[in-house]
Symmetry: C2
Subunit: 493 residues, 2 copies
C-alpha cells in the first residue's frame, strides 16, 4: 500500500525528525514548508511558480476530503458533470464584470507551436461562462429547474499575490464547484442556505472553525449580487478563505440569455447561485491541527488511521506474525492500517515518524501483547496509552477517534481565539498586530476605509456566524455612529 | 438520484424513442451520434471543436470505469500522484523525439491577457517530461526502485485528424497514465508484462475484445523503445486504440538524467515504462455493446443496474408503495437502482427509454406481483422474463448479470469477427473494404509498405494476442517470403 518514495535518503534519518520540533506560531512559513516536505504532501520543487506536485500521501488525504464534499453534494441532489477546460474568448467575455474580474489572471492559449488559432482560448479560472453557455441550450421549461450541478476540476489563475503551496497556487488542482439555476429569487435564496449548510457540515467534519462573512459589495465575486465567505485564521494570524457561496442573481442569466417558460406562460431569466471549495481545505487542516510534532490528521481523512509498530528483535518473528494478524483484522473492519515492520528503524524512530505524518492512533505490539492477546494503543493527542484485548480493539479505536475529534475541535477553537482580537477600540491596536480583528461596523464603505486605514488590514466582510461568542453590540463604531454588525478584518492568503 | 435534465423537452417524447431504431452497422456515425445525444452521454454542442461536455449519466458510467482501473493499479502497488498541467518549454523539450512527436499538437500558453511570460508553458499532452523532471530529484538509490505511479488527469492534444466525441478529442478528460522506473532492463520488461495483464483484466471486465499488437518501429511512441497497443474494431470497421503499454528504455532517463546508485556502487540510468487508457474505453463499450435499441451497459459499470417500473393506474398507490419497498431492498443490497414512478409516461414508454439508456435489468411491478410478493425481471438482452419472490430477487439479479456478461462477451467476439478479414491474399480484397485485415507478414517496412499500398490502410502492428483463433502460419507473404507473424491492418480513429 503506502510506500515512501526516497524517504530516508531525503530526510537523513532520525536526526531530521528530532530537528522537526518547530513551533508553528513562532515561524509559521517555516513550520508549514517543513511539514509539507517531511510528511510528503506536495513537492514545491516543480519549476513553475505556484504549481506543485502532489505526492501520494498528500493526495490520499485530499481524496478523502473530496469524498466528503462529493457525498454532501450528491445527497442534496447535485449531479456531477464535466465542462471543458478551455473557453473561447467570445464565450468568456460575455459577462463584462466577470471578464473584468478574471481576464487579467487567466492563462490564454493562442495556438500550438506550429499553428495560431482563429480565436483565443481561455484556460478556466472558474466555470461560470462555459457552464452557462450550455445552460442556455439545456434550460427550456419550468421542469428543468432547479438545475444543480457540480464538477471536480483543476482551474488556473495567474494571481499576482505571493503564492503559497496549497493555499494560494496558480493551478488549483481540486476545485469542487457547484452551480445552480432556479425559477425564482426566493428559490435561489433557499439554495444559498442549503449551500451554507453543506459547507458547515463539511468544515465541521474536518473540525475546522470558521467565520461566515458577507463580503462587502465592493469586494463581491465578479458578476455576482453578493457572496458569503468561510474564513478561518492561520497560525500566522492571516485569514484564509476556505470557500465561497455566491448569489449570482440574474446577471449571468442575462448575459447568457438563460430563460425558461414559466407556468404562467411567460419566458423569464433564471436566478443562479454557485459555490466552491478547493484543496485549501487540506492546507487549513494541516495548519490548524498540526503542532510541534508535525501533522495531525483527523481520523476521517487520515490515509493511515492506525500504524502498527512491532517491538521485536530480528529473531522474534512470532511478534511480527502477530502484528500481521492484527493488521489483517483491522483492515477487515475497514480501518486504514499500515504495518511498519521495517527492520532498519527502531520503534522510537517510528513513533516520531508516524506522529510527524499525523497518524491519529498507533498500535504497539511486543512480547507482552502477544502473550496476552492484547494490543497497546497510543494516541497522537498524547492521552494515556491503553492496552485492550484484540476483541475490543476495533470498538476502542473508534471511540478513541471520537475523543480525538473532540480534542482537535477544542484545540482549533482555542487556536482561532488566539488568532482573533475582539475590540471596540481598533485605534488602540494599531497596525502590524498579528491576527484577525473583530470590531463593530455600520456596513458603510466610508467606515470600512477608516478601519482599513487604522489597522492596515482589509475589511473581509460582516460577520454572519462566528464560532467564538461575540459580545452584544453597543457603543459607537470608529466612525462615531451606532454599530449594527461586526466586521471581520484581516490580511488574507 | 438521477435526474434527466430537460430530457423530454429535448427529445420530443415517445416518438423519438421509436425513431431510435437505428442499425449501428448500417450507419455507425449516425447511430453513435444519436445514442450519445439521447442517452445523455456527452453534449457535442460546446463551441470548441474536439471538446465536449460530459453529462451526468455518461460521467457516472465513466467514473465506474475509472474505478476499475484505479483498483487494478492500486492492487499492484501503483501510487497516485498529481503533476501540474503546464510544462515549461525548457522541460518539455529535453527529449528530442518527444518534442518532435508532440510539439506540433501541444497547446501553448504564452501569457495572460495582460502579461507575456518569460517562458512558454506547454499544456500536457501526456506527462513523461513533467514527471521525469521530478524523478530526477526523487530517485537516488536502489531502494527507491521500482517506482510505480499513476495519475488521473485531463490532457490536451490539438490533433489534426477528424475529431469524434469520446473517441478522438482535443481534451481527453480521463487519461489514466501510469509510469514506472526500474533498476534493470529485465525488471522493466517484467513491468511491461504486469501492465499487459492489468489491461487485459480491465478490458475483459468490460467484456471488450481486443487484439494486442506490437507497433512497428516506425510508428512507436515518441521517445520509446517499443510499444504494445490494445486495438478493437468499431462497427464501421475502423480500428480503435484502447490503450498503449510502452517500454521507454533509457531514453528519457538519459534526457532527464534519472540515475540511481546501484548496490555495486555504480551510478546507473533507470529503465522506464508507461501505459495509459482514456475515456475511449467508454466509447468502445458504447459502440460494441450497443444495438438497435440503443445503449447496453455491462452491469459492472451501469449507473443504473436495475430500473423499477410500476404498472399502476394513478389510484393504485399500493403498487407504488410496493415498488418503493423493493427499491429500498435493492439499494440496501448495494444495487444501483432507479424507481421510475413518473406518472406522465406509460410503462411501455419507460421500457423503451431505459433500454435505450442501456440499463441491463428491469423490474416490473403490477397487481399480481404485489399480491404474490414477487417481482418480474426483464432483461436488456431480450431473454425470457421471469417472476421471482422478493427473497430471491437479489440473488437472481446477480446470476442474471453473469448471464448478461456472457451474452455481451460472445456478442462482442462475434462483432469482432464480423469486422475482421483474415486472408492470405490481401491483393484479392483490394481497397475500400470495411474492417480490419489480418494477413501474414515478415515484420519489414518494405513488406508493410506493400500491404498498405494494396489495402489502402495502415499496418498497425504485429499481432501478439488475438481473441479470434488465427490459422497457423504457412505459405508466403505478399512480399513473397516466409511469414513469421500476422499483421493487423486497418484505419483508425
Amino acid at each position: 500500500m503506502l510506500r515512501e518514495i526516497s524517504l530516508f535518503g531525503e530526510m537523513g534519518g532520525i536526526l531530521s525528525l528530532e530537528r522537526f520540533r518547530l513551533d508553528k506560531y513562532a515561524d509559521f512559513p517555516k513550520w508549514y514548508h517543513e511539514i509539507l516536505k517531511h510528511a510528503k504532501i506536495v513537492d514545491t520543487r516543480y519549476p513553475v511558480k505556484g504549481m506543485n506536485v502532489w505526492m501520494p500521501y498528500g493526495l490520499k488525504a485530499l481524496r478523502m476530503i473530496q469524498k466528503i464534499m462529493i457525498n454532501l453534494l450528491e445527497e442534496t441532489g447535485h449531479e456531477e458533470a464535466y465542462f471543458p477546460t478551455m473557453i473561447p474568448e467570445s464565450v468568456f467575455s460575455k459577462e463584462k464584470d466577470f471578464l473584468q474580474g478574471f481576464g487579467g489572471e487567466t492563462f490564454v492559449v493562442e495556438g500550438t507551436m506550429t499553428k495560431k488559432f482563429n480565436e483565443k482560448l481561455f484556460v478556466r479560472p472558474t466555470s461560470e461562462t462555459v457552464m452557462y453557455y450550455m445552460w442556455n441550450i439545456w434550460i427550456k421549461g419550468r421542469k428543468d429547474l432547479p438545475l444543480k450541478m457540480y464538477q471536480v476540476v483543476n482551474v488556473f489563475r495567474y494571481e499576482t499575490k505571493m503564492t503559497h503551496p496549497i493555499l494560494r497556487v496558480r493551478e488549483i488542482m481540486s476545485f469542487i464547484e457547484a452551480h445552480t439555476a432556479h425559477a425564482t429569487s426566493e428559490e435561489a435564496e433557499k439554495q444559498i442556505n442549503e449551500a451554507l449548510s453543506i459547507y458547515k457540515k463539511f468544515f465541521d467534519s474536518l473540525l475546522l472553525p470558521y467565520f461566515i462573512v458577507k463580503t462587502p459589495p465592493w469586494d463581491t465575486f465578479a458578476g455576482a449580487e453578493y457572496n458569503y465567505d468561510f474564513i478561518t485564521a492561520m497560525p500566522d494570524g492571516k485569514g484564509l478563505e476556505l470557500g465561497s457561496v455566491i448569489n449570482l442573481g440574474q446577471k449571468f442569466a442575462r448575459a447568457f440569455d438563460i430563460k425558461f417558460m414559466d407556468s404562467d406562460g411567460v419566458t423569464k431569466h433564471v436566478y443562479q447561485t454557485c459555490y466552491g471549495v478547493s484543496e485549501r481545505t487540506l492546507g487549513a487542516v494541516i495548519a490548524i491541527h498540526g503542532d510541534q510534532k508535525g501533522l495531525f490528521l483527523p481520523p476521517i481523512i487520515a490515509p493511515i488511521q492506525v500504524v502498527i509498530v512491532p517491538i521485536a528483535r530480528r529473531d522474534e518473528q512470532d511478534i511480527i506474525e502477530y502484528a500481521k494478524k492484527i493488521s489483517e483484522k483491522l483492515k477487515k473492519a475497514g480501518i486504514r492500517t499500515f504495518l511498519d515492520d521495517d527492520p532498519e528503524h527502531t520503534p522510537g524512530w517510528k513513533y516520531y515518524f508516524w506522529e510527524m505524518k499525523g497518524v491519529p492512533t498507533r498500535i504497539e505490539i511486543g512480547r507482552r501483547e502477544l502473550n496476552n492477546n492484547t494490543v497497546t494503543i497510543a494516541r497522537r493527542d498524547g492521552a494515556k496509552k491503553i492496552t485492550v484485548s484484540i476483541n475490543d480493539m476495533v470498538d476502542k479505536l473508534r471511540s478513541i477517534w471520537i475523543e480525538i475529534n473532540d480534542y482537535l475541535r477544542k484545540k482549533a477553537i482555542e487556536h482561532l481565539k488566539k488568532m482573533t482580537i475582539i475590540t471596540y477600540k481598533p485605534e488602540e491596536i494599531g497596525k502590524g498586530v498579528k491576527g484577525l480583528i473583530i470590531t463593530p461596523w455600520d456596513g458603510t464603505k466610508e467606515c470600512a476605509d477608516k478601519l482599513e486605514e487604522i489597522t492596515g488590514k482589509q475589511v473581509l466582510g460582516e460577520i454572519i456566524e462566528s464560532p467564538i461568542k461575540l459580545p452584544s453590540l453597543q457603543g459607537k463604531t470608529i466612525c462615531n455612529n451606532k454599530p449594527d454588525r461586526y466586521a471581520l478584518i484581516g490580511t488574507t492568503y
